[in-house]
């Protein structure tokens, strides 16, 4: 897990390279989906390519005029059904990803977040749980 200080260091590096980022081979090392749905399959990659857009690489969220909640050490993740519901349906600024991820993808990213960033909920959710939540 990254600390606040190391995040700032990453941000600073990013700044330095912003104008020099010409020939770097970034794109070929990342996964890009080809259509409307995500092709990323693992929880780790789904988090890095989707969730961290708002919840940030260290999952601590961010605040502007409104807030993206921190997922780090977050007790509301204790019931696995809660993040499943939010990912599938969206709510309050959280987009719905039900049409962009299949059941296995939703389960994978929920399990990843619930066992990382200071969370330690070992009761893994399943694709079946996600399927049930869709109705």
């Amino acid at each position: 897990m990254m600390t606040r200080a190391s995040i700032s260091a990453v941000a600073a590096l990013t700044l330095l390279s912003a104008t020099a980022a010409t020939g770097q081979d970034n794109a070929s090392r990342r996964t890009f989906s080809s259509g409307y749905r995500f092709v990323e399959m693992t929880g780790e990659e789904l988090f890095a390519n989707v969730c961290q857009g708002c919840h940030m690489p260290d999952a601590t969220g961010a605040t502007g005029a409104g807030t993206y909640p921190s997922l780090a050490g977050n007790k509301t993740l204790e019931a696995g059904s809660y993040p499943i519901f939010l990912i599938v349906n969206g709510r309050r600024g959280m987009p719905a990803f039900g049409d962009m991820m299949n059941d296995g993808q939703v389960a994978a990213v929920v399990n990843y977040v619930r066992t990382h960033f200071g969370n330690d909920f070992q009761d893994a959710v399943t694709a079946k749980d996600v399927q049930d939540a869709r109705h």
Binding site: I7, S8, V10, A11, T14, L15, S17, A18, T19, A21, T22, G23, Q24, D25, N26, A27, S28, R30, T31, F32, S33, S34, G35, Y36, R37, F38, V39, A48, N49, V50, C51, Q52, G53, C54, M56, P57, A62, T63, G64, A65, G66, T67, Y68, G90, R91, R92, G93, M94, P95, A96, M100
Partner: protein, 532 residues
């Protein structure tokens, strides 16, 4: 000069006459029959008749919806104040220029190093001809417009796995697709396969039209010849003197076009929302926000972050903090409130509204969208490729490359829109990157279409709308079901509060939607105020 004989009654005079005698509904029918009516919901400058008797309105947000409300309500006699989170007017009506800096959520800061005079519009960037309200405000507020070029026949259609990865000119794909489809239809017509559905006489006319529409030869075939070259372009253009004779070019086989999927872009140019003529303000989209602020800037309190919205039977109280000194909570009060705060933010605030409106506010997600501006040492797309404005489409994750519609044919630097992502997986994937990674990826992908990128790229900026602190998303992403369930609840006046903005319109993500929503909201609000 044309000479006019006798008394001529102009159409407008006639309409005024009909309006006076018969009332507005007769006038509307007359307008329709004279082919004069506009499809727009905009009915001309707002006239709020009746005395608000000193009523006050607090407007939350100084984007186009908020500033429209401020301008019109003050004119109607209201006491108006506006709270705005940013330190500038406009909201998503925004232009980034050299010297600007922008810090997105997560603390990633970008300093724009564009050359002076070059800019990118990270939000709205084009105005359709039928956005009558926005165009009217531009005229009234002296915002100078220039053409926004949506369709450039010489821009590219590109598919990573087709045509050996080589981008194809839009004109060639269009001519070849149209030509070969025409050839097929001509063939079945001649084989008598349409005899049951099309009369013989009409078949003759159909064949003529297919020959013209598809650039077919005498035998109704689409071939490499000077006839098809007039549409798809030449292998050698017509010239002068001893090198004058043009050479035809070879069509791309229909099968290759079909499999490439690039045909799907052709009809996109015909969509009502992006049909020519389109416009952009000279100097950047934020010229509109600045023009509004010239009118109502004195009413706006900047750097005001709203933290709570309360109402009771007698008025509205809004708590806010100054973002430069957030420790002290301040309050603003008024009789009424027009709230244009984007819903991802509003849904998190303590807000006194009814359950159905609260449910609507919490239910509308905002779309992911990313725009990336790239500065190059020279305008190679013009110098090397004769692309002046317009958009190339690709199935690469950058989706579009848009060429600047200003500074044509000038020497020196220029800026491309190097990626425009809206909805879909790639928009989220680009949002999840750092700004520098987004720019680097846009350069790498764009180089597959314009190899000059690698040598000419200088600097870029990338805006991912979910990381924009003042919106937390691009625009309301309505579904049909969501709209059926929540839209009316979102737009109703709730006690003393009414919402406005593109999210409360049927033109989501368009500036016209923000303005029409605002005009509709304040018209209803004013009716209520005058009645009470």
């Amino acid at each position: 000069m044309p000479v006019q004989n006798g008394p001529v009654i102009k159409r407008r005079d006639l309409l005024a006459l009909i309006g006076t005698i018969a009332g507005s509904s007769a006038m509307y029918h007359a307008m329709t029959s004279l082919g004069f009516t506009s499809e727009s919901a905009y009915k001309g400058p707002l006239k709020l008749a009746g005395d608000p008797k000193g009523a006050s309105v607090l407007i939350l947000g100084a984007g186009l919806a908020g500033m429209t409300a401020a301008l019109e309500l003050r004119k109607a006699g209201y006491k108006v104040q506006v709270l705005e989170f940013n330190s500038r007017p406009g909201g998503r009506n925004w232009t980034i220029r050299g010297g600007d800096s922008f810090t997105e959520l997560g603390g990633f800061k970008q300093n724009c190093e564009f050359e002076q005079g070059l800019y990118i519009n990270p939000g709205p960037w084009r105005i359709p001809y039928h956005h009558r309200a926005l165009l009217d405000y531009c005229r009234r507020l002296n915002v100078v417009l220039e053409p926004f070029i949506q369709l450039n026949h010489n821009a590219y259609l590109h598919a990573g796995r087709a045509f050996d990865g080589k981008p194809q000119r839009i004109r060639s794909i269009k001519a070849d697709f149209q030509g070969q489809v025409s050839e097929l239809l001509a063939k079945v017509t001649q084989q008598g396969k349409l005899d049951e559905t099309v009369t013989k006489e009409d078949q003759e006319i159909l064949l003529q039209s297919l020959r013209a529409w598809g650039a077919l030869d005498r035998d109704y075939k689409y071939n490499a010849n000077l006839g098809s070259a007039e549409f798809r372009g030449y292998a050698r253009d017509p010239g002068g003197g001893l090198t004058a004779d043009p050479l035809p070019s070879d069509p791309i086989p229909l099968s290759a076009i079909l499999r490439s999927q690039v045909w799907r872009y052709l009809q996109a140019f015909s969509r009502y929302n992006v049909q020519t003529t389109m416009f952009q303000p000279v100097g950047g989209m934020d010229m509109i926000g600045k023009a509004f602020a010239r009118e109502v800037g004195d009413l706006i309190r900047y750097n005001a972050k709203v933290t709570q919205i309360q109402q009771n039977g007698s008025g509205v109280t809004v708590s806010y903090v100054d973002t430069t000194n957030p420790s002290a909570v301040q309050q603003a009060t008024a009789d009424w409130c027009v709230c244009t705060i984007p819903l991802p933010i509003l849904s998190q605030l303590p807000l006194d509204v009814s359950a159905p409106m609260r449910n609507a506010i919490e239910s509308l997600p905002y779309a992911a969208s990313v725009k990336i501006g790239l500065q190059f040492k020279r305008r190679f797309w013009e110098e090397d490729e004769a692309i002046y404005g317009g958009i190339s489409f690709t199935d690469l994750p950058i989706r579009q490359i848009a060429y600047p519609n200003y500074g044509f044919n000038r020497a020196g630097r220029g800026i491309l829109l190097g990626a425009y992502l809206f909805e879909g997986a790639n928009a989220y994937e680009f949002t999840a990157m750092t700004p520098a990674e987004r720019v680097a990826s846009a350069v790498e992908f764009g180089a597959k279409i314009h190899p000059q990128y690698k040598a000419e790229f200088e600097t870029g900026v990338a805006v991912a709308w979910h990381r924009v602190p003042f919106t937390l998303g691009c625009a309301g992403e309505w579904t049909e079901a969501g709209r059926a369930q929540h839209y009316r609840n979102l737009c109703q006046i709730d006690g003393r509060i009414v919402l406005a903005g593109e999210h409360a319109s049927d033109l989501p993500a368009w500036q016209e939607g923000a303005i029409l929503s605002s005009l509709d909201a304040i018209t209803r609000l004013h009716e209520r105020v005058v009645k009470t």
